[in-house]
Amino acid sequence: MSISGKAMGLGLRALNRFAGLPWVDRFGLRKPAERVLFHGAKLGFRTAGALARRFRATQQLLAPVRPAPAQAPALFDLTPTEEQQMLREAALGFALERMRPAAQGADTAGAAPDDILAGIAELGIAQMAIPEALGGVGGERSAITNVLIAEALAQGDMGLAVAALAPVAVSTALVLWGDEHQQATYLPAFVGERAPAAALAVLEPRPLFDPLVLQTRARRSGTDYVLDGVKALVPRAQAAELFVVAAELEGQGPALFIVESSSAGLSVEPDPAMGLRAASTARLHLEGVRLPGNALLGQADAAIYRDCLRLGRVGWCALAVGTAQAALDYVIPYVNERVAFGEPISHRQSVAFAVADIAIELEGMRLATWRAASRAEQGLDFAREAALARRLCADKGMMIGSQAVQLLGGHGFVKEHPVERWYRDLRAAAVMEGVLLV
């Protein structure tokens, strides 16, 4: 942590005066004040990126390895394959037994516990995203499988799910769009023992953000690229060793770049938000970050970039669906048990209809998300479907979060129940870009 600069000096002087005041102890203010200062310090100061391992190609690939697209089935079908059902059940079990109880603590701490991240890693999500030839276990590419897993994990907690899934987005980006050199350099680490934290950073901190019009710039300098800009709400950026960063490549439009965390000019600043707190969101500052020519991912292909945005949005939809499902499952027993005016409040139409509408809109969100994902894995155009799913999950997901709090009344507003957290998390589905890839 770079504890330098004028601001810090001023802050320390003020602190010194404050600490010396006699009433600080008398009114029991010392502990809270220390806490405020601690968080203030955390917020106010940027740190350099995590020290990255040396990513080095350990094998030579002649050509990039891509997963096979899924076979297009002949029939309309809403039944997951047996393998998908198994994975979903495993993820759901972990979500409800381990993630849910850990969620509030992680939310308060602003960090995901290591054992939870390790537990999710054991589900093998990272390995499945990577083809066998690169050390993973992935065969066919299945966006649906990824959606089902994200949905299940979000039933435990959205913030924790984001923390765990963020590195998978980076490895998936490399699998889908990396060249043979990029794949050989970075992917083996993701299937290894100590897989790196990593994040896909697209979002920038400004109103009406349009990911097709980026303010993060990449200019050419000889054979290198030089990046400048700020990325917002990047999960676990402080721990991440590798980033994929979206930047406007001069003369070519938005493009993706592989950025190692120890690059000079890269710094990370905590960016805690309304929700997703377990994901330790942070801003990523890029100031004259110099990258080698082979850091460009996907040849600045406009179609690849749009696919990246769509796959990310479908991922956020899946998380919204899971979180909304958690809310519905929580609200049903509550309104059945809560008594007012001599009977369960669920006997009132205003309450019962609110529950019905949550279920109806949730099912619509889920089906729209599944459709976008199934088109993606079949190699069909899914621009429209991803946009519709996104709109639904942004609007109806938030409606569900808000109604869930409303149905619990004051109890929904306090942290004794998880509903207020779901309310905060569900807003993310409308705001976030990137971060995930299904």
Binding site: L309, N336, H347, A352, I360, G364, A383, R391
Partner: protein, 402 residues
């Protein structure tokens, strides 16, 4: 394996239905909207065409009778007649909901017969056009409160009562009438009876003048000592309190996705037309750009399309479940609720977005907005669907959650 695209085997059917909607429904839409109560004779030909489609190929037709659940032992994933019917209905209602409702031999009564009739009855009523008579002047949603009675007298049931809002009542050959065997025995005593047109005691009282779906006639009937053969009772003649309403209500699990499909088809018509008119006005929609970074009308269109997508997929889900013999009451009601409210909102908003073009009779948008409203009412109103969904989720009886 999860796949939500239209199955290949139904693409031909969808295309045929779309052709019919485009070539026959649309060009006649305005004419029969104005000439209410005049029978659209263009449809006779179509009835024959649909019969032909039903008779051909795998037997998975586009008609109302497609809701019959077959009982073969196949356990794999099935895309059968329920899904085919819903897909066909969407296309036809993209053309005109009123025409669909007055397609010969495609009445909701046909769906009821297909759902609960014995094989013998099915054979006997084959090729007939059947309307559905449930609502009475004093009761609509509360269909258990019907007062029309059926009294067994020798080999006949004698029906007495009044029925309103009978879709295609004037044009149909048969009326499926809900009546009670015992007004004191509650829901379990309600049975459906097939009454043939021309049966003495069945009198057409009048035809309604309506907000929309004016191509489809809506009739009121009086039944005065109307005698029907006792073989015309559909399903089980015994009053079984344990099975309650199940027999007659089973029809709804199959017909609600159909009505939802009507809303979906209509909503798509509105959205396509609006998108086209907006395009001519210079408003394009880029699905990859955030809605709020685009024209407000484009953002609105995206929101409406999202609701449309949800309604459509819920509808396909309910039909797919019926094809696979999964209990689908919950999903059928979800689809009906979502499609009903969405198609009204979409149609009305499209009128607004298109301004004078949307509101005037030069385009069909204003007509679709009038047609839409009935979809949120018949086969169970929005509120009834919400009740059904809520009771299922909360595990409540109709006595607890009223």
């Amino acid at each position: 394996m999860i796949n939500l695209e239209t199955p290949k085997k139904f693409r031909m059917l969808v295309e045929q239905a779309h052709r019919v909607a485009e070539e026959i429904f649309r060009p006649n839409s305005r004419r029969y909207d104005r000439a209410e109560h005049q029978y659209p004779k263009e449809l006779d030909m179509l009835g024959a065409l649909l019969d032909g489609m039903n008779a051909s190929g795998s037997g998975e037709g586009a008609g109302a009778a497609g809701v019959r659940r077959s009982g073969d032992g196949d356990t794999g994933n099935r895309n059968g007649s329920n899904l085919a019917t819903v897909l066909g209905t969407i296309e036809l209602c993209w053309g005109d909901v009123g025409f669909l409702l007055t397609m010969p031999r495609q009445g909701l009564g046909n769906a009821a017969i297909a759902s609960v009739a014995t094989d013998e009855q099915l054979e006997r009523f084959k090729g007939k056009w059947a309307a559905m008579a449930i609502t009475e002047p004093h009761c609509g949603s509360d269909s258990a409160a019907i007062r029309t009675t059926a009294r067994l007298d020798g080999d006949h049931y004698v029906l007495n009562g009044d029925k309103i809002f009978v879709t295609a009542g004037e044009r149909a050959d048969l009326i499926v009438v809900w009546a009670t065997l015992d007004r004191n025995a509650g829901r379990a005593a309600i049975k459906s009876f097939v009454v043939e047109k021309g049966t003495p005691g069945l009198e057409l009282v009048r035809l309604e003048h309506k907000l929309g779906i004016r191509a489809s006639d809506t009739a009121q009937f009086a039944l005065r000592d109307c005698r029907v053969p006792k073989e015309n009772l559909l399903g089980d003649p015994e009053i079984r309190t344990d099975k309650g309403f199940a027999g007659v209500m089973q029809t709804f699990d199959n017909t609600r996705p159909l009505v939802a499909a009507m809303g979906v088809g209509l909503a798509r018509a509105c959205l396509e037309q609006t998108r086209q008119l907006l395009q001519q006005a210079g408003v394009d929609l880029d699905p990859d750009r955030p809605a709020y970074a685009q024209h407000a009308a484009a953002a609105e269109l995206l929101r409406l399309e999202a609701d449309f997508e949800a309604a459509r997929l819920l509808t396909l889900q309910a039909a797919w479940m019926a094809d696979n013999r999964k209990p689908n009451s919950l999903q059928a009601s979800m689809a009906k609720a979502k499609a009903g409210r969405s198609c009204v909102e979409i149609a009305l908003k499209c009128v607004e977005l298109c301004g004078a073009l949307g509101y005037a009779e030069t385009e069909l948008l204003e007509k679709w907005a009038r047609d839409a409203k009935i979809i949120d009412i018949f086969e169970g109103t929005q509120q009834i669907q919400q009740l059904i969904v809520a009771r299922r989720l909360l595990g409540k009886t109709s006595a607890e959650l009223k």
